[in-house]
Amino acid sequence: MSIRVFDPTAEDAAATRIGAVRLPSLEGRTIGLLDNSKFHVRELLDHVEEILRTQYGVAEVLRWRKPDASRPAPPAVLADMQRCEAMISAVGD
């Protein structure tokens, strides 16, 4: 005699999402940085931008800012992000 029970989690959530294709290298690429408008995020991203340019040979760094840390970036910002090949979303605080 056994007891049959059921999985409480969103089992199929991961399966329905396909991750973006990873870049083999950052060399010569255009990378986006998203500022969440919290304190000190600008300084953090300035530092990240410098590392990307000097240590990884990134060709161009594009910067965006979302006005509210606890909500998604506005549609116009999301649409404009198509100009970069990879994004770094920073959580400054």
Binding site: S2, I3, R4, V5, F6, D7, P8, T9, D68, R71
Partner: protein, 352 residues
Amino acid sequence: MTLPRQTLRSAAYDLADALDVNEFYQHKGWTDGLPIMPPTEDHIVECLQAVGLAPGDIVGVEWVRQRPITAEKVAINAVMAGCLPGYMPVIVAILRAMCQEPFNMHGSTVSTGGSAPFIVVNGPIRTAIGMNATHNVLANGNRANATIGRAIRLVLINVLGCIPGQLDRSTLGHPGKYAFCIAEDEEDSPWTPLAQERGVPAGMSGITVMAGESPRQLLNEWTHDPEEILETFAAEMRHNMLTYSVWAGNYALLIPKQLRELIVAAGWHKHDIREYIYRAARVLRGDWATVGKANIVHRRGGPNQEFTALRSPDDLLVVAAGGPAGGFGVVIPPWLGSKAQAITQAIEVHTT
């Protein structure tokens, strides 16, 4: 009881007994840390029937990460929490409210600020399912209060991934994250019930949910003057504005019988309370110097810049609840001002 067969889509596990089920679920991280009840097919189906939903029906979608919450997953988590099927209409209404965009469910449940959905139930369903609105109302002792609140937490953990250290980034959290659900004491109060004030027709049941920080208890047994009583509530709100967060939004006040009767005797209604608190719960930027935050006194508007706790009197949720004795009250502050807004939702009672 014979149940019509409904096809559950979730993965099934055959385990030896209820103790094994608990150990398995604990090991998987599928609980809040406390033991769970085994979610068996019969119990899950009874919960679905109580709300007239099919397993695949969508109760709501968390809009930031576009995660659907199916009725089947809600029922499984409700059974695990220890709910009876009769609690399901309340749980479904709460989740529908939390999925509305202004509640900002993603932001408020994953933030370092560590809030919990604070739920107030109004209307006939409170008494039908035996909810508590009096002694020890914010704490232990009542199955419906405890397990409805817990079911919401288990849905957040299991369906939306609000696992501490993963999606849930709370620095501290607070005990309300286990369960934070009360009924309003409508029988012992002449005031309009909260859900009715916020649009649910009289005679219908409804829930109100806000992203609440931990309750701040106060005491004033040394006056019969409603303004003096409410000044103690306003002072607690001002203190929260200075020591925690200054941003204006929904605050909840719980006013138990002893203080409530004094306010009622003076002829005050909930709207009088809201007007008084709106005027009184204000601080100046310069006040931050008194709580160790002198460094921000001279920013932006300078020391005389005024902040209100409420954007308007309507931001205040006044709730009649608590045991009969003691001049206590409670202020429940918002997670982060108006970034998450209180939502009131009518409860649909399913008739078979």
